[in-house]
């Protein structure tokens, strides 16, 4: 087993909630609570969930935007939990954001935006930098004349290509992609996904792919984790989870995907409608966080929160499967 590039254990992030003029802390939002997963070099990991699930917060903790409040992040064998602001580390872990229009400074030319990472990390100099900018632009499918343009002159897909170029120009090891194609049209999305796959094999990049689109994540990741209100509800190999989803939340999400062919429809599990709205992360439900919407809830669900257990290749937090499975001592496996 090759050493994992990224190993996350018990990762937690709490945001305090303040109230009043003197800003007293009145509560906290556990945006991410005890996340565990691993990612190998050059592989893709999909992080799936709806709003409030904590997937973006988790991605940002790895990218260094947020400092974890608990747990650990081990990157390439080194514990970096508290060093996540380290500049050398940032060269190796990069991020692509959701809305390409706001991720690029509207008042700077593409060239300056792309020179930024090179200047920050002291890569090359002068002519060598210019060359690298042009090469990277061409690598993401934009001709070199784009370097003198402003972001508002580019289409959404082109802007996202620039954002990707900015992320990979320093040859990082890991790229966090936060809904990189949600703002793009379908055909453009396919183009960008193709580009990402090419870059992954060419630069041996590992991806953490955050999205709410299950069909998309099926096509891009080797392993996925389904999150709800800060907890990872199901985690395992992508194919295994899609062929045989176990957690009721995963089943429900899969069953309502709008499909474009009968073949796809036959593939989906039987329709499981969820009632009600997503609970508030400030006022978490007692017991299993999902029980308020779960059509399969039974006695222990509103009292005790299920621990992650290992069941047939999936790691699950669900009382339905807790009885006949191993506790989480077994390794995740590749």
């Amino acid at each position: 087993m090759a050493q994992d590039l990224l190993e996350v254990k018990g990762l937690t992030k709490c945001f305090p909630v303040y109230s009043g003029i003197i800003r007293r802390k009145v509560g906290e939002v556990r945006a991410v609570d005890g996340a565990n997963f691993t990612l190998e070099r050059g592989r893709s990991f999909g992080l799936v969930g709806e709003s409030g699930s904590g997937k973006t917060t988790l991605g940002k903790m790895i990218a260094g935007t947020y400092m974890p409040t608990g747990g650990s992040i081990v990157f390439d064998g080194v514990d970096v939990t508290n060093a996540i602001y380290n500049r050398a580390l940032k060269r190796r872990i990069q991020m692509v954001f959701q809305d390409p229009a706001s991720a690029l400074n509207p008042r700077r030319r593409i060239r300056d935006t792309l020179l930024d990472p090179l200047k920050i990390h002291n890569v090359g100099s002068g002519q060598a930098r210019e060359k690298l900018v042009i090469e990277t632009l061409e690598r993401v499918g934009l001709s070199q004349e784009f370097q003198y343009r402003y972001p508002h002159e580019l289409s959404g897909g082109q802007k996202q290509r620039v954002a990707i170029a900015r992320a990979v120009i320093t040859h990082p090891d890991l790229v966090i992609l936060d809904e990189p194609t949600s703002a793009l049209d379908v055909s453009v999305q396919a183009n960008i996904m193709e580009l990402l796959k090419e870059l992954q094999s060419e630069f041996d990049l590992a991806y953490v792919f955050i999205t709410h689109n299950l069909s998309l994540v099926r096509n891009v990741s080797d392993k996925i984790a389904v999150m709800y209100l800060g907890r990872i509800m199901e985690y395992g190999q992508t194919d295994a989870i899609f062929m045989n989803p176990k957690h009721p939340y995963s089943v429900a999400l899969l069953s309502v995907i709008p499909t474009v062919s009968d073949e796809e429809e036959k593939f989906l599990p039987e329709l499981m409608k969820l009632s009600g709205e997503i609970a508030s992360p400030v006022n978490l439900p007692k017991g299993c966080r999902f029980h308020t919407r779960c059509p399969k809830r039974f006695d222990p669900c509103d009292k005790i929160e299920p621990e992650p257990t290992w069941h047939d290749g999936h790691e699950l937090r669900c009382h339905l499967y807790a009885a006949d499975s191993l506790p989480r001592a077994a390794p995740i496996g590749n």
Partner: protein, 293 residues
Amino acid sequence: MKRPKLAIAPYRRYELRKGLYRFRKNTLSMVGLVIIVGMVLMAVLAPWITPYPGDATSFATHFPIAFQPPSWAHWFGTDDAGRDMFTRVVFGTQVDLIVAAGVQAVVIAIGLPIGLISGYVGGRLRDIILAISRVFITIPPLILALVAVTAFKPDLAVAALVVTLAWWPWYTELVDGIVVSLKQEQFVEASRTLGKPSFRIILEDIMPNTLPTMIVKATLDIGFVVILLSTLSFLGVGAQEPTPSWGTMISRSRLYLPGSWWISAFPGLFIFLAVLGFSLLGDGLRDLFDVQL
């Protein structure tokens, strides 16, 4: 490979043409531009386009021809000392416009950096800076001027200094507000994720995005600064004789109204035109930059 500066040139030209096209479509702002350009030309060419430049620059008096109404020899008439009003009013542009522009420039030079720092750093420092600027904002400039004048001798320089002190906090607060909202933008977060040091984020990412709003506000404000300086001159605490300031001219003319109306009408007209010009220009720039003020 062409050097970058040369390669960008055609793009810059195109962008300039596009901007001018949009600006031209707005007739009112073109009017404003014409007025301001006209006044600036007057200020620059004053010694050559006025018939009696000595009337504005020296203590010359010509009592025999005092109180002449507007005529071919004296387009704006003569004042109580027999000096040609047209000359004095045109030279007034040098005083009022240039001092106003100077004050505005200094105000930006002070207010912008402070606003950038307070907005970006936030927290206690921001609370302190905003508190200080609040103090300066709430004191009316006029009161501040009168107080300053009792401490120092009345002079245009003192008036300019006072207006500067009263004006800078508006820019600090404006910039602070913009920076606070810009901080949330994803491109700022992207720069932080890249590992960019904070001062470079402020300089390269945030400041360029504050400039459009500031330019628009500065343009609209110069008109107001002109009024402020004129008011101070009118009250006698600004420009002193023989410096031709529109405010002092109006002040002197009080005694002679309504008979010799031209001694106050023309300086007043020019104040009005200056303010109008800057307002129209500022509005046009605002539409051009699409800024919400």
